[in-house]
């Protein structure tokens, strides 16, 4: 092709260093790759909105104690079920006179805690199971994939319910249940990716180095599965928040008086017709965060999809 491109004559600026075609060190190469991905991501407005929502969530979780106007646990029965904007309650108060705004702010940390634990553990489990099954094949594949099928056959919430019922109610057990129900789809994705990667010439090439299966899986197959796993993860996070909320709603997750968003909706359902804000405000918070994850996931898919971005750096 005939490329009419401009060649910079002056000393390279920060920007040119980052967009360089000829990196000079390992670190530089990595920076260039990150920068180019970021540049592609930045053009996607909706994904940026998603990113900002999630950054907001992180900020709120960290700065929580500074942002609240009331003690989230303090009850004041004389001020129960106040509508939003009255009595000093920005988002109203609940049936025990607690400030809904302060409780949502404090609940952000809990939501983030659930999301972070599940987001790290479940994909990792899926990645290990899926790539082992896909790369080794044979009986390993059969055993691992039937196991995955069994987990997939149960509706997520029902399986989580069973786990929680067995382990006892509580936030930690709810998270464990979420992890155990969330990994199978990742295993499926990782296995499918591995099956296509396994037969490529670059895997043959590392086999010719003499590397064993484990090093090949971790060093050469994981990096290629990671992008689809991350995309799936961001799209999944909304569902995980909702399942966690569902467990909370059923009283099997975080226990009162912990300001977990699902549990708050649960307690607000009794008044949903007359005092709608008690359930609607935490619902709105769940909706916003879920939306943020979905938008981010869509944007990441455009940037990370190995099928499109393999060539995406240079051109």
């Amino acid at each position: 092709m005939n490329e009419s491109r401009e060649i910079p004559q002056h000393a390279p600026s920060w920007h040119e260093w980052l967009a360089s075609d000829v990196p000079t060190s390992r670190l530089h190469a990595r920076c260039v790759q990150l920068y180019l991905s970021w540049r592609a991501f930045r053009t996607n407005t909706l994904a940026m909105v998603g990113l900002f929502i999630l950054l907001g969530l992180v900020l709120v979780a960290i700065l929580g104690p500074l942002l609240i106007t009331h003690d989230p646990y303090a009850q004041d029965l004389s001020k129960r079920l106040m509508p939003p904007g009255t009595g000093g309650f920005w988002l109203g108060s609940d049936e025990l006179g607690r400030d809904i705004y302060s409780r949502i702010v404090m609940g952000a940390g809990i939501t983030l805690y659930i999301v972070a634990l599940v987001a790290v553990t479940a994909p990792l489990m899926g990645l290990i199971v899926g790539t082992l099954a896909g790369y080794l094949g044979g009986w390993v594949d059969n055993v691992l994939m039937r196991l995955t099928d069994i987990f997939l056959a149960f509706p997520k919430l029902v399986l989580a319910l069973a786990f929680v019922a067995g382990l006892g109610a509580g936030l930690e057990n709810a998270i464990l249940a979420l992890i155990l129900t969330a990994w199978p789809p990742y295993a499926r994705i990782a296995r499918a990716e591995t099956l296509t990667i396994r037969n490529s010439e670059f895997i043959d090439a590392v086999r010719m180095v003499g590397l064993g299966p484990l090093r090949i899986i971790v060093g050469h197959i994981w990096p290629l599965c990671l992008s689809s796993i991350i995309i799936r993860m961001t799209l999944d996070m909304a569902g995980i928040i909702l399942t966690a909320a569902g467990l909370g709603f059923l009283g099997l997750g975080a226990q009162p008086p912990t300001p977990e968003w699902g549990a708050m909706i649960s307690s607000g359902r009794k008044f949903v017709l007359d005092q709608w804000w008690v359930a609607a405000m935490p619902g709105l918070a769940i909706f916003t965060v879920s939306l943020g994850f979905n938008l981010l996931g869509d944007g990441l898919r455009d940037v990370l999809d190995p099928k499109s971005s393999g060539q995406g750096g240079g051109s």
């Binding site: 092709m1 005939n2 490329e3 009419s4 491109r5 401009e6 051109s315």
Partner: protein, 285 residues
């Protein structure tokens, strides 16, 4: 020789966010009822030239030309709907990989019959007879069986023959073949070429044969255009390709190893920046 296709000052550009890539830069040539070879390396613009004639350049690519006429019809003036009627009826194109060009869920015979029915108003039975005839013409031994096969059930060579049958059944005036045999084994490649050769001769079609293989083009075509960096740098009779003058063509020929002429080292093509700047050649006859 009557002119079938005339192309004047054809350009194909791809607009990126930062730069414009010019794939074809002012190509002019005419085609009679002959076999015209277009050779060049990857990125020379040879495939884009073929696609541009059919107006198949998709955004962000765009094409422009001063003239693009097929037998008196101005292809540039046609609407997209009229252009669709031209494609497949008056101009057909054969691509490198038949697997991507055939519909995987329709039996190959039906695809050929359908191509024929779109062209001629005939009933199904007649179309089937014609399709079987065509499969026979491309030397498929058992046309009845192949008619009922799905694309994944046939070999590469067979698939390419089926493609040729499908592309030739509407009896187009012009056939554009873009590396039609590169994915095939050499002996199968020759057999497929022989079929194409025979049909093109019998029906008096024009053929544009796009390839990177200089020897193949020299032995198969009547006339050759050599493309480099989006321009035609040289044109000559195919038989006389080995007497080519342009340093690029000479360099390409010299870089080919030859069975009967051993050399200790192959000549390496030194690209001259001036070739890129030189204007192209008008290959009109």
């Amino acid at each position: 020789m009557s002119t079938l296709l005339s192309v004047e000052d054809l350009w194909v550009r791809f607009r990126g966010p930062n730069r414009v890539v010019e794939a074809v830069r002012g190509v002019s040539f005419t085609l009679g009822r002959e076999r015209l070879g277009i050779v060049g390396e990857s990125g020379s613009g040879k495939s884009m030239t073929g696609r541009a004639i059919l107006r198949l350049i998709r955004p962000p690519g765009e094409m422009s030309a001063r003239r693009l006429e097929l037998d008196g019809t101005d292809l540039l003036a046609l609407t997209e709907r009229q252009m669709r009627a031209i494609r497949g009826h008056r101009i057909s194109m054969i691509m490198q990989d038949p697997k991507f060009s055939l519909n995987p869920v329709v039996r190959v015979g039906e695809q050929i019959a359908e191509a024929y029915r779109a062209h001629a108003r005939v009933d199904r039975r007649e179309a089937r007879v014609r399709a079987l005839e065509m499969l026979h013409a491309v030397q498929i031994r058992d046309p009845e069986r192949v008619y009922d096969a799905y694309p994944h059930e046939v070999s590469g060579g067979m698939g390419q023959r089926i493609m040729i049958a499908m592309m030739l059944v509407p009896e187009p005036d012009l056939l554009i073949a873009d590396e039609p045999t590169s994915a095939l084994d050499v002996t199968v490649q020759m057999q497929v070429l022989a079929i194409m050769d025979k049909l093109v001769r019998e029906k008096g079609m024009g053929l544009i044969f796009i390839s990177h293989d200089l020897n193949l083009v020299a032995s198969f075509c009547d006339r050759v255009l050599i493309m480099y960096a989006g321009r035609i740098v040289e044109t000559c009779e195919a038989k006389r390709l080995h007497e080519a003058r342009h340093p690029y063509t000479r360099g390409l020929l010299a870089s080919l190893p030859q069975i009967d002429k051993p050399v200790p080292r192959l000549a390496v093509l030194e690209r001259d920046a001036a070739w890129r700047k030189q204007g192209g050649i008008d290959a009109s006859v």
